[in-house]
């Protein structure tokens, strides 16, 4: 599915953000990319859809070489990559519906987009997604009237309406309070699994990463220093990624949380929804 070969990014300032990073995602899985601030997580994810231009290396998605595409072909390729941002990056002065539909911009003509005449199929999908992320009834609210958690739900819907082949998620929870952060992270992981989408999630919160991801990649100073399952992550590995600190609490809490989540998931009859009672009751008005 996604293959990254010796990706290197050097900024014009001479700062080397990524140094020969290679990564293969061969099936639908939630991959958490952890690492300290400045480790290159954001550059890594932005190189994949070339919001940041890679300096060296190759990126392949479903057999086509992303790094070899001309600008207009790259725009077409980006339609297959859904992205979710730390600051949500919604168009603040547009409505929730316009923001969700903006995920279809690559598929409609300019005038369709400009006059807001999206195909009915897109509109149906937008309503379904809004309901799925817990924002049914919010379609005509302006984005700047929403709370942080609600904005990120819109961000998720905008990425998913693209029907992407991969989700690129950049620190989805850093601007949220701890409880909302957990809910949003759970929602993203669950939707990715539900749709069989591989998701690359940058996250500096180790607890959340270990709780929701099936695979953890550790970045430190532009290099991949760890790639494995969440239960392989121990004190030594966290020290390798982040540096010296007392990691025992973090690991113990994450393990407990993951277990609790698993129990609730098993208890829920249709599987999965048990983890999110908070947003389903809280977001519907």
């Amino acid at each position: 599915m996604l293959q990254v070969d010796k990706l290197t990014k050097t900024y014009p300032t001479g700062q080397k953000a990524l140094d020969a990073c290679s990564l293969k995602v061969e099936k639908s899985q939630v991959v958490a990319v952890i690492g300290p601030s400045g480790a290159g997580k954001s550059s890594f994810i932005r190189c994949i859809n070339r919001l940041v231009e890679p300096t060296e290396g190759q990126i392949w998605l479903d057999g086509s070489e992303v790094t070899a595409l001309a600008p207009d072909q790259m725009a077409k390729m980006r339609r297959h990559m859904g992205m979710i941002f730390q600051e949500y990056n919604l168009v603040e002065r547009l409505t929730v519906m316009e923001n969700v539909l903006s995920g279809r911009l690559g598929f409609v003509s300019f005038w369709q987009a400009f006059l807001r005449k999206f195909p009915q199929a897109d509109i149906d999908r937008a309503f379904d997604l809004l309901e799925r992320v817990g924002l049914a009834g919010y379609e005509n609210n302006r984005a700047d009237a929403l709370s942080g958690g609600q904005r990120q739900r819109v961000g998720i819907a905008r990425a998913l309406i693209q029907e992407p082949k991969i989700l690129l998620v950049d620190e989805p929870t850093s601007s949220l309070d701890p409880k909302t952060a957990r809910t949003i992270m759970g929602l993203i992981a669950e939707l990715a699994r539900e749709r069989g989408l591989p998701a690359l999630i940058n996250i500096h919160d180790v607890g959340l990463a270990l709780m929701f991801a099936e695979r953890v990649v550790g970045l430190s100073e532009g290099r991949i220093v760890f790639d494995g399952a969440p239960d392989e992550v121990d004190e030594q590995i966290l020290t390798r990624i982040f540096g010296e600190a007392d990691w025992r609490q973090t690991i113990r809490h994450a393990a407990e949380d993951a277990e609790a989540l698993e129990r609730r998931r098993a208890a829920a009859p249709d599987g999965g929804d048990g983890a999110e009672p908070a947003w389903q009751s809280g977001a519907a008005r």
Partner: protein, 276 residues
């Protein structure tokens, strides 16, 4: 500090107390010199005016005399200035719409973050500077020569004159937008035009509305004078009244312009509050 070594230790009074001065002596001298040059320039400029002093001393009588001739206003003339006044407002409004339409592409090219390359940035800036540095009366004379005297020349003169102002302020608005929103729209695979329509336009809409209504208000004032050079509107009526020394008519025209300008300022304030 100067190079004078005694300054390093400071200056002391005979009783041994340290003196503080804001500026050293050479600095004080230099500032005095600059002041002197400034005063000389002003004196030179006033002599250059060739003022005929008897006329200046005579001014109060002249004001009284003119005021006497302007009063009472020719109220009966009111009916005849309604049509030219409406034409003035129309010239201002159409000119502003023209400016608005033309200035959005110019603004996109004049903003550092949306321009295509150095050349387009440079072209847009030349357009902005040209439009702003030529007075509306000069533009009106030029377009009256091209399209013939009349309101069309006025509309185009007002429009061209306004582009610089509106494009510059809108470009400044574009330079201040949140890049994240633009990045998110680009990440969906949208083309450049769609990124502008979804990522940039909504962000600068308040700026556009504010700048354009403000400019409309300015244009009402400008379109009432361009008639002096034959480009339509109330200015033509004003010009002929003055040529005929019909001062009571001049008074009523000035009152009408005053009322319309006040009203337009009120309307533009209202619109700006409404849209931001």
């Amino acid at each position: 500090m100067t190079g004078d070594p005694s300054m390093a230790d400071g200056i002391y009074t005979p009783t041994g107390r340290r003196i503080w001065r804001r500026r050293s002596r050479p600095e004080t001298l230099r500032r005095f010199g600059l002041w002197l040059i400034g005063v000389m320039i002003v004196v030179w400029a006033i002599t250059g005016l060739n003022v005929h002093w008897p006329f200046v001393l005579d001014a109060p009588q002249q004001v009284a005399d003119l005021a006497g001739r302007m009063m009472p206003p020719a109220w009966s003339f009111t009916g005849e200035i309604v049509a030219p006044m409406i034409e003035t407002i129309n010239i201002a409004t159409l000119g502003t719409i023209l400016a608005c339409v033309l200035s959005i592409p110019v603004a996109l090219l004049a903003a550092q973050n949306t321009t295509l390359n150095r050349t387009t940035l440079w072209i847009a800036r030349v357009i902005v500077v040209t439009s702003r540095s030529i007075n509306e009366l000069v533009w009106a004379i030029i377009f009256a020569a091209i399209f013939g005297p009349g309101p069309l020349a006025g509309v185009i003169a007002i429009g061209i004159r306004s582009i610089g102002f509106t494009a510059k302020l809108i470009a400044e608005g574009i330079e201040e937008i949140d890049r994240g929103q633009v990045e998110a729209i680009a990440a969906t695979g949208a083309s450049r035009a769609k990124v502008i329509a979804y990522g940039i336009l909504p962000q600068i809409m308040p700026t556009i509305v504010g700048v354009v209504t403000f400019r409309w208000d300015i244009n009402i004032r400008q379109s009432s004078v361009i008639g002096l050079v034959g480009a339509g509107g109330i200015g033509i009526t004003l010009n002929s009244a003055m040529n005929l020394f019909n001062w009571p008519q001049v008074t009523i025209i000035l009152i009408a312009i005053f009322i319309v300008v006040m009203a337009s300022e009120w309307v533009s304030n209202l619109l700006r509050k409404q849209f931001t």
